[in-house]
Amino acid sequence: MADENGPVLELRGITKRYPGIVADDHVDFDLRRGEVHALLGENGAGKSTLMNILYGLTRPDEGEIVVGGTQMTFSSAKDAIEAGIGMVHQHFMLIPVMTVAENIVLGVEPVRDGVLLDEGGAEERVRELSKQFGLAADPTALVSSITVGQQQRVEILKALYRGAQILILDEPTAVLTPQEAGELFGIVRSLKADGKSIIFISHKLNEVLEIADRITVLRRGKKIDTVSQQGATEEGLARMMVGRDVLLRVEKVPASPGEVALEVRDLHVVDERELERVRGVSFTVRSGEIVAIAGVDGNGQTELVEAITGLRRIESGTVTVGGREYAGHLTPRMMIDAGIGHIPEDRHRHGLVLDFNLAENLALHDYDKPPDSRLGWLYPARLVQRAVRLIREFDIRGGGPLTFARALSGGNQQKVVVAREVARNPVVLIAAQPTRGLDVGAIEYVHRRLVAERDDGHAILLVSLELDEVLSLADRILVIYEGSIVGEHAAGVGEEEIGLEMLGGRKQAVA
């Protein structure tokens, strides 16, 4: 590492094959001192396999790892750590019942009197490190009592404590709120200023452009290119990731709203702890328009959607679908029959029966009606027929009608849900965080589909935590804060204004 500008790390021709697939195909990668090098690619592009190889968790079939000019063979994470490599996994590996300091020193504890854990020393060392890199963390706090963002900092400190010069951050923002992500970027910059080198794994274009100096794009196990952050654009990166042009901005013509399809009036909903989560929400959605509900997570969006779809009891208020008013005790069956299609926010919990095959999943609302069944007798062949049709129509890949939903990728699982809900031709389509956890190509698909449904004259209620998504899709935007609608805007409103309202900056309710 004597050479100031030479690479601190080089991966040459790394290849890893799994039965039936080449996860990484002769991938080259290099990292300079004091740089943030982003590794960009869709789910399954080979990013994590590459990093697992670098961290000694997986052995490559071919290729070499060169750290500081020396060729290395890592047979375990321990070897990688000794070579100055630290990794912060997506899912943290902390022990919740132990303190921050105990977690950080775990395995390399400072020792007092020969055998005893030097707790004071450990805490002191953690404080020094926190100060050095601007990572605020209370060493005496229990890990179970701190936030996810703080836990991530503990993971970073853990790596630094072990002397990491190279830090791998695996999709670090996936678990963070936007605010926490901002703080993380600050930490990354100060680490960089201190001469650490960082590999930043992500599939989010905007954050990669914000934080990285150089960007390497992987696609289907192959390195496509390494580009400098200067001059790189989201469009260009997306093209490299997906292998074709991707529309990041949704193209749509102005809406031509028709009749009111969904009307929610003075809705009140409480959660399991009897806390009021939706406080007198009223709004309408017309056919042929997309109305988006923007807001920070946990402001009553989930409860609102569950109430409208009959999954959660309504305290008071009414829901009118296609001219028919519903009040009191709603059931999912009632609302399905009323013409509500629902793309739920958690497709694993609600949207799919993962151990059902696609044919069964696609029949989830219609299995009890002809032609799927008659007089309680099910015709599986007809379920399969429908599945064959929808799989083709909605371009669901990775399996056939008899494939278990579990075996599909996240994007294709979501397509199954979208296909089922859209194919029923609903009066109102409620899409709750429809692109959560999806990669660029799948997001584009879902967005286009929603716009197409709108243009087809359906009413669409979009609930999203992603402001970008709201701004690019919605014809009208409602901002929800602490269970109330605090703002209503036409499309084209500024991000600033909505962002402020989302944080409760302007609390007066809109009539």
Binding site: Y18, P19, G20, I21, A23, E42, N43, G44, G46, S48, T49, Q90, A174, H203, R219, R220, V242, G243, R244, L247, L311, T331, P332, R333, I336, H348, R349, H350, L352, V353, D355, F356, E360, A363, L364, H365, D368, S373, G376, W377, L378, P380, D395, R397, G398, G399, T403, F404, R406, A407, S409, G410, N412, Q413, G437, V440, G441, A442, Y445, R448
Partner: protein
């Protein structure tokens, strides 16, 4: 690729990965067959080691059990009439037990597919026995067909009601079915002891000092189709057991009810989202499970028991054994059928069917209990093994194969 055709807007899929995932799924489904077989083989091996440790020859012991279960009859050459009568009799007795075990096994397997663990097969079986006994004695003037039919239907219904109580409590109050079915077992056991006991309403009328039920009238006896009716031949209840297996499969796979039950069993949240009334399904699943157990009680009572004593109520275990049958059979129709046959043979082959000169019946009885215990233990362990295996697999496989890897 251009972005103009909507159908091309999907993300590029790593096609081979799904192929691999499918292969893996197939391997696991194959494991679903291999594991129980391995489980049984291991249990028998371990049993054999214990037999060897007691100074006996395990080979001879197992051969004794094999012959005792009447399995050797299946391999007799036609002109060898030497022991064929005894062997045929043994096999008919094994099948008699198999029938009961099929039904008590289904009583556990059916609710299991809806995500419920019915520990109450024993209680539901006893309720069925009691009702069948009562009907069998009561309508003595009736012709056989309606009398048997009434007894069987009433007993099955009683079993359904008994299990339905647990299902109802689960649906309305959320009371856990394991707790409630265990309680209902005890109510059935004590209820049976009261009913058949001295001075009880269903005690026999001819011997007031004997704490046992009356005897089922001949008109309510299920006809025997194989063997001598006087010597407890195999009755037509056997076919009810086979039909129940078929019904089990049909209900689960070819009816909307089965679809709903399976959806609820796999993921109650998604089922509710899909419009299924999950609470109602819990009740229905339990009630149908209880129906199978009640049927078992009826077929035993009207097929060969005809009478039941307080001591029999206390000693009966066949409903509990249904749990082991269902677990080993992986809660599938074929699995339950096969494992019921295995347990049926084991049960009969180590007790009355066993030639005491070949193998010590005392030891044999313990061997049965041991093999049963080991099978249940191994089946429990295989869930653990699968869990560990899956965790390992998750850690080892490339990201590509993990759904939701981006989160």
């Amino acid at each position: 690729m251009s972005d103009t055709a909507p159908t091309s807007s999907a993300p590029p899929e790593p096609e081979p990965s799904t192929e691999f995932a499918v292969k893996l799924g197939a391997a696991q489904r194959a494991g679903g067959l291999v594991v129980p077989i391995l489980t049984a083989v291991l249990a028998f091996l371990a049993g054999g080691i214990v037999v060897a440790a007691t100074g006996h020859n395990p080979w001879i012991a197992y051969q004794g059990i094999w012959d005792g279960a009447g399995f050797n009859w299946l391999f007799h050459i036609p002109w060898d009439t030497n022991t064929i009568h005894l062997d045929a009799f043994n096999l008919s007795q094994t099948l008699l037990t198999t029938t009961t075990l099929i039904l008590t096994g289904l009583a556990v397997a059916f609710p299991f597919r809806c995500g419920l663990f019915n520990i109450g097969g024993q209680g539901q079986y006893l309720v069925g026995l009691i009702v069948a006994n009562w009907i069998g004695i009561s309508f003595a003037s009736w012709p056989t067909a309606p009398h048997v039919l009434l007894g069987v239907v009433a007993a099955a219904f009683a079993g359904a009601v008994w299990a339905g109580i647990a299902g109802f409590l689960k649906a309305t109050t959320g009371a856990h079915e394991v707790i409630t079915t265990i309680m209902l077992n005890w109510i059935a056991i004590w209820g049976g002891q009261y009913l058949f006991g001295q001075g009880g309403p269903l005690q026999n009328t001819y011997n007031p000092s004997a704490p046992e039920s009356g005897t089922v009238a001949p008109s309510a006896h299920i006809p025997v189709f194989w063997g001598n009716p006087v010597l407890q031949g195999l009755d037509y209840g056997f076919f009810v057991g086979i039909a129940a297996l078929l019904a089990f499969w049909l209900i689960l796979n070819r009816t909307t009810l089965g679809y709903e039950l399976r959806a609820t069993g796999f993921n109650p949240d998604a089922a509710a989202y899909g419009g299924i009334n999950v609470r109602k399904k819990y009740f229905q699943a339990m009630a149908i499970g209880g129906l199978f157990a009640g049927l078992a009680g009826a077929i035993d009572m009207l097929g060969y028991l005809f009478q039941f004593g307080v001591l029999d109520v206390q000693a009966s275990q066949i409903g509990f054994l249904g749990i082991a049958v269902a677990l080993l059979g992986r809660n599938t129709a074929v699995g339950v059928g096969v494992s019921a046959f295995l347990f049926g043979g084991l049960l009969y082959g180590t007790t009355r069917g066993l030639n005491p000169n070949v193998f010590d019946p005392g030891l044999a009885g313990n061997l049965t209990s041991m093999i049963q215990g080991l099978i249940v233990l191994f089946v429990g362990a295989d869930i653990l093994i699968l869990y560990v295996w899956n965790a390992r697999r998750k850690a080892r496989l490339p990201r590509i194969l993990q759904p939701e890897a981006g989160k």
